[in-house]
Symmetry: none
DNA sequence: GCTGAAACCATTATAAG
DNA sequence: CTTATAATGGTTTCAGC
């Protein structure tokens, strides 16, 4: 596992939400300068964490047909090859190869199209069994849980957006939504210390 | 199905390849001006074809654990609800609900984590059966096939760029790289019809 | 990882087809 | 109504520290 700090994770999360977001905006939110964001993103691409900047497209608006989940049970050892072939077919969006010799693919097809998809991508002699299930819904969650995501002000509990205040006390970082809350917190801290 | 012209599809294709690509570059490639690209993208977002600009992240670099495909067979009517719950869990990237009452989810988990994922997202009383399969590989293909991208002339096989000819015969659309090829094709068609 | 300067880009308003 | 042009305001990148 690659070493990523909180800044990296926050950048990833913000870009996953909107990959066209300006680096300067990201810089503000994560508390670094724009060039630093640029450097981090370059590094994340280099080490392979970011595979590409892309789009989430609603394919149901693009092509006629219905969403299906195809499960193909193959003879042993062919799952990766078949998965890659299937992934290359236009109507196939996702393909998974499992250790028990199955390939599961999500595609949008016309009813008549499904068999040609299979024969086009798969040596049918290698298919032990397959089934096609109609999809009623699907979700893709590109979001990752960053470390400081939805950070709440330690004093009032509000979500901290722009204009937050960060202070370091006894080596620990504390974040507040405003300097007012920061002051309140420090008064609390005194009270706590005294009662201890 | 929404009406999209070739320009829209080309823009989508280019953005799917790299969503941070400058609009001016896209404008050059598809032969319009940058403001036009901007307008088209706005429209594609409005009508829901573009759901979001996002990232393709290699999660294996982000978290320990193995990729699994979980297939849950539920009591009828619960598939969409369960799918949505599962999609909200951090380690779940994709979730599909099928018409036959299954939910299939792709997740990255520690071996010990899988049961807590299930119980967290699913009312286990609704599960008829489930299995967890180890993944060996997976692919996501955000690419879409643009309309004229690599379309071959039906007569000579050459790639059709600007200046192609489209004709409609018996309700079917045919595309040619030039009017010469279109004429040749029509002669062929006569021959075929006569021999039939 | 930051600063500042220069190059670059997206967007707006405006004009033309 | 759609597209192009030009100007502006903002963004990214590159040096240098």
């Amino acid at each position: 596992m690659v070493e990523l700090d909180d800044t990296d994770l926050n950048i990833l999360e913000l870009l996953a939400e909107d990959s066209r977001r300006p680096y300067s905006e990201i810089a503000d939110k994560v508390g670094v300068s724009p060039p630093t964001v640029s450097d981090r993103v370059d590094r994340l691409e280099e080490i392979g964490v970011i595979e590409r900047f892309t789009l989430d497209i609603d394919r149901s608006t693009l092509r006629d047909g219905v969403g299906v989940l195809v499960d193909i049970h193959l003879q042993p050892g062919f799952e990766t090859e078949v998965m890659e072939n299937l992934a290359g077919v236009e109507c196939v969006e996702h393909a998974f190869a499992t250790a028990d010799g199955h390939v599961v693919a999500k595609a949008t097809v016309d009813e008549t199209e499904i068999h040609s998809v299979l024969t086009q991508a798969v040596d049918t002699g290698r298919i032990v069994e397959y089934d096609v299930r109609l999809l009623v819904d699907s979700a893709w969650e590109p979001q990752i849980d960053g470390p400081d995501v939805g950070v709440a002000c330690e004093e009032c509990g509000a979500t901290i957006d722009d204009g937050g205040v960060t202070v370091e006390v006894d080596g620990q970082t504390h974040e507040f939504c405003s300097s007012t809350c920061r002051t309140s917190y420090e008064e609390h801290l005194e009270t706590i210390k005294q009662s201890a």
